[in-house]
């Protein structure tokens, strides 16, 4: 008897979508006490599966065929009111973004208590008692204080713990987790995964765990279903799917997961192209009532990027790595220290700095102006610097060919491109200025794993061809291992360890580096 069984489920998308069906003949089942990971890239239908079970689909999306059985209950045919009573009590859900899933104006304790107030008729004292016990169970530090806290007073990992406590409050048979650790740092992710695993074991809850990350799959799954374009292409035990995948798509996805072991070191030039010396930056809150404390984002950071090499800056959120990137391209003024590019200090004039250093941004959707042709956006920098328009556009066409796009695409608008293509445009835009240094701020973290692999390959090829020097900011140690020659590990505005990547990853000296490496998911099963 399975806790959840989805039988031949077909879900139609509204007319005008990119395909007629979100899901086609999907069959899955989860036994009590089992964790099923549904893994796939964006658009594979994995999130639609979760929302269809809860019947929280977007408007216009509807079930066309099939059944969703929770124990003996057919969820697809249940009236709305009956389903509402069942949500929270028998099925619960943990969302990706714990900040937006909690009500910012309500204390955590009140939100948690709502679960019992809505679904049971326990007394107020009983509810308070259970709330406290629930927060204890998810191992929050200071559970009494957390009950009175508002969501913004907790960290991302703590908020996700509260979400899990809420989801498990009524001991549901089924817990749906939709990318619950994607927004979290790697060490926090490891803790949350352990927590879900422990609680689920203790209570025998069935878990449907949706993720795009094979590392996470390796850490938590009992069984795995791989989805592509709304179809389950492969299903089996985690051992079988990860080590002996039978479907070509699964093999392709697994091959795209970057390994943690760095390739053999290249010979790099001793000449420094970007020198950052003792850089300091403090964010001071503005206004008359300075309630927040000044935050020290960079606390005397010194790093050196060698010509033709890639220097990785790795660290968790709040480590100061993005601040470093923004200072290096002149987007942010710094309080102390020095940045030298090719031997000279970074000039304050925008135009002069543009020829020395360029940036590739994180979000391929936000980094292109939606209302202007991509060709103009690539060529506008050289045009402003005095290149004739026709020549700048011809160079842009060459750059498009170089980054693997049709030169005819110059006249199109950003919305006509996929995420990976947009990131290629962003790279072309940066290269158009022929900079000495390219700063890449998490350029692949918003991309699917297979697209990510393509963009990384492109960056490596461009580096070999043009002798690019790249300052590469990332939170993903696997990506860093594949691309970087040297690495600097940052924590709380300080560089705690730096050196050749093979050495740092193989023999980490600092405790923080060790904990980061230990937290990378899927080290064992994915063969490093």
């Amino acid at each position: 008897m399975s806790a959840l069984s989805i039988e031949h489920l077909t879900v139609a998308l509204p007319r005008g979508a990119d395909r007629p069906y979100a899901l086609t003949d999907v069959s899955l089942s989860i036994a009590p006490g089992e964790i099923l990971c549904v893994v796939g890239e964006s658009g594979s239908g994995k999130s639609v599966t979760a929302t269809t079970i809860m019947r929280l689909m977007a408007p216009g999306v509807r079930v066309e065929a099939g059944r969703v059985m929770l124990g003996e209950t057919d969820l697809a045919s249940l009236p709305d009111e009956a389903l509402r009573r069942l949500r929270g009590r028998r099925i619960a859900m943990v969302f990706q973004e714990p900040m937006t899933a909690l009500n910012p104006l309500m204390a955590v304790g009140d939100q948690l208590a709502e679960m019992w107030r809505t679904h049971t008729d326990l007394s107020a004292e009983k509810i308070a008692e259970r709330s406290l016990a629930a927060l204890r169970e998810v191992a929050l530090p200071d559970p009494e204080g957390a009950l009175r806290a508002y969501p913004h007073e907790l960290s991302g990992g703590q908020r996700q713990r509260v979400m899990i406590a809420m989801a498990l409050a009524l001991e549901p048979e089924l817990l749906i987790c939709d990318e619950p650790t994607t927004a979290l740092d790697v060490t926090t992710q490891a803790q949350i995964l352990t927590l879900i695993r422990e609680l689920q074991r203790r209570r025998g809850t069935a878990v449907l765990f949706i993720t795009h990350d094979f590392g996470v799959v390796a850490e938590i799954a009992d069984r795995v279903a791989v989805m592509q374009q709304g179809v389950v292409v492969e299903q089996g035990s985690v051992q079988q799917v990860l080590t002996a995948p039978s479907h070509a798509y699964t093999r392709r996805l697994l091959a795209a997961v970057p390994g943690l072991r760095a390739p053999p070191a290249r010979k790099i030039s001793p000449e420094a192209v970007l020198e950052i010396r003792n850089l300091g930056k403090t964010y001071r809150p503005a206004g008359i009532f300075r309630r927040r404390r000044a935050a020290r984002a960079l606390d005397g950071v010194s790093v050196t990027l060698r010509r033709g090499a890639t220097l990785g800056i790795v660290g968790e959120s709040g480590s100061g790595k993005s601040t470093l990137a923004r200072c290096a391209v002149g987007l942010l003024a710094f309080d102390q220290g020095e940045i030298r590019i090719a031997g000279r200090p970074l000039p304050p004039a925008r135009q002069a700095a543009a020829h020395l250093v360029q940036m590739v941004f994180q979000d391929p959707y936000a980094s292109l102006n939606p209302r202007r042709k991509v060709g103009d956006q690539v060529a506008q920098g050289p045009i402003a610097a005095g290149t004739p328009r026709a020549k700048a556009l011809a160079e842009a066409a060459e750059l498009f060919a170089l980054v693997g796009l049709e030169p005819s695409a110059l006249a199109r608008f950003p919305h006509e491109f996929s995420g990976g293509q947009r990131q290629r445009i962003g790279i072309a835009r940066a290269l158009a200025m022929k900079p000495e240094v390219l700063v890449a701020d998490e350029p692949v973290s918003a991309l699917d794993v297979s697209v990510q692999a393509q963009v990384l390959t492109l960056l490596r090829e461009l580096q070999a061809r043009l002798g690019l020097s790249i300052l590469f900011i990332t939170h993903d140690l696997r990506v860093a291992a594949q691309l970087c020659d040297e690495v600097a590990v940052m924590q709380n505005g300080l560089v705690v360890e730096a050196g050749p990547i093979g050495q740092v990853f193989e023999y980490p000296a600092h405790a923080y580096t060790k904990s980061l490496l230990a937290a990378v998911p899927g080290r064992g099963m994915l063969g490093v």
């Binding site: 543009a354 292109l368 920098g381 402003a384 200025m433």
Partner: protein, 277 residues
């Protein structure tokens, strides 16, 4: 752009608005052809009811002027006032809002306090003062209406600029070495414009109403055949010959309804997330 046009054409209320505005425009364009004589000239016996005399389908006003002719010529005046005043208001509003939102800090503080100073004065009173000081020719009235209507446009533009200027594509253009002027005009403004265009329709409707209100108080230019003037003339005979005020009143109502529906339709068409709701 084509997607927005299609979305607009699928919206029946928006289409009705477009029809109303186009009808008023057609009235204004046809006025010199259909009524070549001076609409303010004496045409016949005063205060003839609509339909009483086949020469005057909508009757005559207390001075014996043809209401139908005034209505057609008035369409030109009302649309012109609405359009020019809106242009003045949005130009000032966008300039001030863009500078305040883009530079923030001290520039923002100074410009926004100025905007608030304008906003705290009731705009009709300010309009009365301007007209009292500078006279009531139609040109001054129009510009004065524009001068009292820009603060909300400035606030809206500022809000859009504040969020847009931190976007990555603006930062990318900054890193490319482009000037502030380029960033404001080419990167930020095109993305800030849709809500401002939508709000411009509200400014236009209010501008037409403000002119009518001035004319009702007989403070607008008496030498142009505006709808407001006609309502003002009918004020003295409101209880018996109410049609003198009611006919241009309905014209104003339909025009403003049309402009508002067009604005609402633009809002839905330019905001892809709302379409389909």
């Amino acid at each position: 752009m084509r997607r927005a046009l299609l979305a607009y054409l699928r919206n029946p209320a928006a289409l009705l608005g477009a029809v109303l505005v186009l009808a008023v425009l057609a009235m204004g364009l046809a006025a010199p052809l259909l009524f070549p004589n001076d609409p303010l000239g004496l045409a016949g016996r005063p205060l003839q009811w609509p339909g009483a005399n086949p020469r005057f389908p909508l009757g005559t006003d207390p001075s014996g002027r043809d209401i139908m002719a005034q209505l057609f010529h008035g369409a030109r005046v009302s649309l012109l006032i609405g359009f020019v005043a809106t242009l003045v208001a949005t130009a000032i509003g966008i300039a001030i809002g863009a500078l305040a939102g883009f530079y923030s800090g001290l520039v923002d503080t100074v410009l926004m306090r100025l905007t608030e100073a304008f906003q705290t004065l009731p705009n009709f009173l300010l309009l009365l003062v301007l007209v009292a000081v500078f006279g009531s020719q139609i040109e001054t009235v129009t510009i004065a209406i524009g001068l009292v209507s820009w603060p909300p446009v400035a606030r809206l533009t500022r809000a859009e600029f504040l969020t847009l200027r931190t976007r990555e594509f603006v930062q990318a253009a900054r890193v490319q070495g482009l000037s502030d002027l380029h960033l404001m005009l080419r990167e930020v403004l095109p993305n800030a414009l849709p809500p401002v265009i939508v709000y411009a329709s509200v400014v236009m409707a209010v501008a037409i109403l403000l002119e009518s209100a001035l004319a009702f108080l007989q403070l607008s230019d008496p030498n142009v055949p505006s709808w407001g003037n006609l309502i003002g003339l009918g004020r003295n005979v409101l209880r018996v010959e109410w049609y003198v005020s009611a006919i241009p009143g309905v014209a104003i109502l339909l025009t403003i309804l049309g402009v508002s529906l067009v604005g609402q339709g633009l809002n839905d068409a330019l905001n892809p997330r709302i379409t389909g709701r």
